[in-house]
Symmetry: C2
């Protein structure tokens, strides 16, 4: 197996370093560094990351002008007038070969502070609004984009039981709960997205459980560069009608839902 | 049709009042008030709402103590030491007969500022961690809870085309994208949840389009008290195995996914 030194950005969103999440984060850094990789961490709580996207994110805007989140983001990105905290995170993403988002599942999604990282760092021209629109190509997205060629993986802790997140579990299947992140946030700007790594029932983890959790996470980190990404369908590779962007009738015929956007052999 | 005066809480999350969202918010307030209802608005951006859940949300915590988001929330809620902004929003929820969450769909979910409102206002003992656990009852949740008897509805704007959110659209079906909110955030603490109201392709709305959007929204607001809620299955009403919380094999046999948690006649 090829062994290259890679750059890994770990974006971490938990308010307490003396937590299971904090311990897993430290473990992950160590595991990756011991494998020869370079790790940078965006510890959003420690950085006091500004969660709320607003007009101040463009340092050069006209006072009193109507604020348009997309158009302001575009202008600031193009003109280099983004808030420096945003530009710094974009530089980390450019630098990274692999990106890990680690967070506790709060109300079936990522914590607000991480959602706000996505909203602010994912500028127009950087993570969306990229590429041309034509009869055969609807922007560089869903498999193409500025983050193409990089890998991404979610590391998620959940307080609930694994069975609650099974295909027939009351919370809904975990892959469906995470689909808007895996597909809509990671695949959208081009990442190769690995299956998410989820740790359940985290309030009950003892020392043996922690050791097991580290083993499982460690394996995923060891396999970061070799594991098969989720085979999401590429938007502009012929599977979708353009501009409707519905899956062509001959593919997954008669079916609907998130799963049809994963190509099964 | 019965006509009672109701209390409506509108939680609104858009940074620019001179936006389509701002105009729709103003329209909704007017429509509800003209129907005789009392409306209170939590305009999260205007309130400079603190999006990030952290240790400061409990005003009486031990300095230096390890922060546990759930246990701190529980303690603060029980002891009345929550941050006042949190307690104030909980009071509004207690007061309300109906709650509307209005927001633009950003990266396939609610804006961070609204997610942070949920995380902070949904305290342990208020929106989760309520009720007993036994062989037949697994907490007051998914159909029971402190917010039972109230109605909730999402009003969502999306930049993309409606077809992109259809059952076979590339973004995934809108009902699946919103399921973690509809079911996991609204039904969970007891709300009767109405079908969400989604307005598409909002960047292209002209005056005629706006008038049409108001008509459609107005109809939904007129029907707020009479429309049928989404018939989500109640957790403790016999449909689920306890404590596995998987749907019993005889129900929706052979199927899985979000949709099995909606009871179809």
């Amino acid at each position: 197996m090829e062994h290259r030194a890679m750059n890994v950005l770990l974006v971490y969103a938990h308010p307490e370093s003396r937590s299971l999440n904090g311990s897993l984060k430290d473990f992950a850094i160590q595991r990756l560094e011991r494998a020869g990789h370079t790790v940078r961490v965006s510890d959003l709580y420690a950085m006091n990351w500004k969660a709320t996207l607003d007009a101040d994110d463009n340092t050069a805007r006209q006072p009193g002008a109507r604020f348009d989140p997309s158009m302001d983001s575009r202008q600031a990105f193009e003109n280099g007038t983004q808030s420096t905290d945003i530009a710094r995170e974009q530089d980390k993403l450019r630098w990274a070969d692999g990106v890990i988002l680690q967070f506790p599942l709060w109300w079936f999604s990522m914590p607000a502070i991480l959602k706000g990282w996505i909203e602010r760092v994912y500028a127009y021209g950087f993570a969306y609004g990229v590429g041309e629109h034509s009869d055969t190509h609807w922007g560089d997205r869903y498999g193409e984009g500025m983050l193409a060629g990089k890998r991404a993986m979610l590391v998620v802790t959940a307080g609930g039981w694994a069975s609650h997140y099974e295909p027939r579990g009351i919370n809904g299947p975990i892959d469906d709960i995470l689909f808007p992140i895996q597909h809509g946030i990671l695949f959208y700007p081009g990442f190769d997205v690995l299956p998410s790594h989820v740790i359940y029932r985290t309030s009950r983890i003892d020392e043996a459980g922690f050791s097991k959790a580290c083993d499982a996470l460690g394996q995923r980190l060891d396999d970061l560069w070799t594991a098969d990404p989720v085979p999401f369908r590429r938007q502009n590779a012929g599977d979708y009608l353009i501009p409707e962007l519905t899956l062509k009738p001959g593919l997954a015929p008669g079916r609907s839902g998130f799963d049809i956007h994963v190509e099964r052999d």
